[in-house]
């Protein structure tokens, strides 16, 4: 059996009222912020199913926005986020949708700016979250590990070139692609931390289009 930590049971310290609908929403926002990694000009938050239906009463809308702005799950400013100056950095709107093919607590971040990006994630219970899609690539980014994310051309040896440069233990590795020889993505979860130099080096590899290092979220 996978060993759990008792700290997961007596945490997180968070603003209420719901670990899945409030803390989870903030964490999804934080991950989306780190993945996009630029200043957006406009963001559309698409909230699905239970997130759409009970989201307002649980502050889900405030949560996803606060996370995207970099606030942590225990930041008491979340409650008033719509009225704060920090929320005036970009335009934003909310859409409330029902789609039974999606998780009960699902959100899409449609981010416009210098680059456009669509990031989709689910809040899977007790504050745990997963980013499942970036544009059309499937990924698995939970914020529980320091995660290296690459988008590149599907060519031989790409995985070994990346893993050879990493000298900490790899907890999991997930790859996906549009088609052979086309755009591909790699999601590497790490037990430790890697140096910025390694990330810069990996970014120089031919055929790597995008690289992000998403730091583990505080619990």
């Amino acid at each position: 059996m996978k060993q759990s930590s008792l700290l997961d049971i007596i945490s997180p310290v968070m603003v209420g009222p719901s670990s899945s609908h409030t803390a989870g929403a903030v964490r999804l926002g934080l991950l989306a912020r780190n993945i996009y990694n630029e200043k957006p000009s406009k963001v559309t938050f698409k909230l699905y199913n239970s997130y759409a239906l009970t989201g307002k009463g649980h502050g889900t809308d405030k949560g996803v926005l606060a996370g995207l702005l970099g606030l942590s799950v225990d930041d008491t400013r979340i409650k008033d986020i719509f009225n704060l100056d920090i929320s005036k950095q970009f335009e934003y709107e909310f859409e409330y949708l029902e789609d039974f093919n999606r998780h009960p607590n699902a959100v899409d971040f449609i981010i416009e700016g210098k680059h456009s990006m669509k990031i989709s994630g689910d809040s899977i219970g007790a504050g745990e979250v997963v980013i499942r899609k970036i544009n059309d690539f499937t990924v698995k980014c939970t914020g529980k590990y320091n995660t290296l994310l690459l988008v590149y051309k599907d060519v031989p040896n790409m995985i070994s070139r990346v893993t050879n440069s990493i000298h900490v233990n790899i907890a999991s590795l997930h790859c996906d692609r549009y088609a052979k020889g086309e755009d591909a993505s790699m999601c590497v979860c790490l037990d430790g931390d890697i140096d910025k130099k390694v990330i810069d080096f990996l970014g120089l590899i031919e055929d790597v289009y995008m690289i992000r290092y998403i730091k583990k979220l505080e619990s």
Partner: protein, 292 residues
């Protein structure tokens, strides 16, 4: 040191063999697994304990309603009553009920709380541990030991049952919080390992089948007021266990029953707001008004 402890039987035999308390065994394992010193680990627990105390204080001083307007001003009524009238069961009862309500109300007004094990059940463990500490004259280290005991008990339950209303109903949220509190309180009062685990088992046994049927899908009705109820439930379990009363069904088997009951519970009663209190005439009216 035992690296793997997945059941209450394993926990009990580990403690008996090594002569350690539950919190001692737990903190050693956690420090080892998380690559930190025991002192670092206890500091994290202490930080959460401090956040619990702050949530109680903030809750006691506020009257603000939740966004839905359904809850938020009940704790002040309790405080007002106890100014003039003593509770039949004394000061400790008054502290536990007001602290539980204060924390729960702080949660629904988007204040800062500690999910323990969840946000909807966040009032129970702090109310019991902090609420009895004055009466028992215990220092902070003893409260940290109690919170570690509560966490270890919750962790072992969570190995079998996900602590989520959507998976197993409220028995797995407020029910488990009450069982964690019963264990913590029994630890604080010098109970043996057996007494601590019996308190846990007795508490959960008497909450089996508790559904999750929140009105309008919000963590408010019946969640907020359920917190003081189940905090007091933990005290009953601890009193019984400390007198040597045992659960005829052993702790691990009680958790098996919890798991099975959760599986058999209709999905309409598991955080989907499709039955129970959530589908009463009044709840449907509220839904029309609030979620339009």
């Amino acid at each position: 040191m035992e690296k793997l402890i997945n059941t209450f039987a394993e926990l009990s035999s580990c403690c008996t063999r090594t002569g350690k308390t539950i919190w001692q065994a737990a903190q050693e394992r956690e420090a080892d697994q998380n690559d930190m010193t025991i002192e670092d680990f206890r500091n994290i627990v202490k930080k959460n304990l401090t956040a619990m105390k702050e949530a109680i204080q903030n809750g006691l001083n506020s009257n603000e309603m939740s966004m839905s307007g359904l809850c938020g001003n009940d704790c002040s009524k309790l405080i007002e009553r106890y100014k003039n009238e003593r509770s039949l069961l004394g000061k400790t009862f008054e502290r536990i009920t007001t602290y539980a309500l204060a924390t729960s109300e702080e949660n629904i007004r988007m204040g800062k709380i500690v999910a323990c094990p969840t946000a909807g059940s966040c009032g129970i463990v702090p109310a019991v541990i902090i609420g009895v500490s004055d009466e028992l004259n215990l220092d902070e280290e003893a409260l940290i030991n109690a919170l570690i005991t509560a966490g270890e008990v919750g962790r072992i339950v969570s190995n079998k049952v996900a602590l989520a209303g959507a998976v197993a109903g409220c028995q797995a949220e407020c029910g488990v919080a009450s069982a964690m509190s019963a264990a913590a309180l029994t630890q604080m009062r010098g109970g043996t390992i057996d007494e601590i685990l019996n308190a846990m088992a007795l508490a959960i046994k008497n909450l089996l089948g508790l559904t999750c049927d929140p009105v309008c899908g919000l963590v408010e009705v019946p969640c907020v007021k359920r917190n003081p109820f189940l905090a007091i439930h933990a005290v009953t379990a601890s009193e019984l266990a400390l007198s040597g009363i045992t659960s005829k069904i052993p702790p691990d088997e009680v958790i098996d029953a919890l798991e099975q009951t959760g599986k058999l519970m209709s999905p309409t009663l598991k955080e989907s707001s499709q039955a129970g209190l959530a589908k009463t005439r009044t709840a449907i009216d509220l839904e029309k008004r609030l979620l339009k």
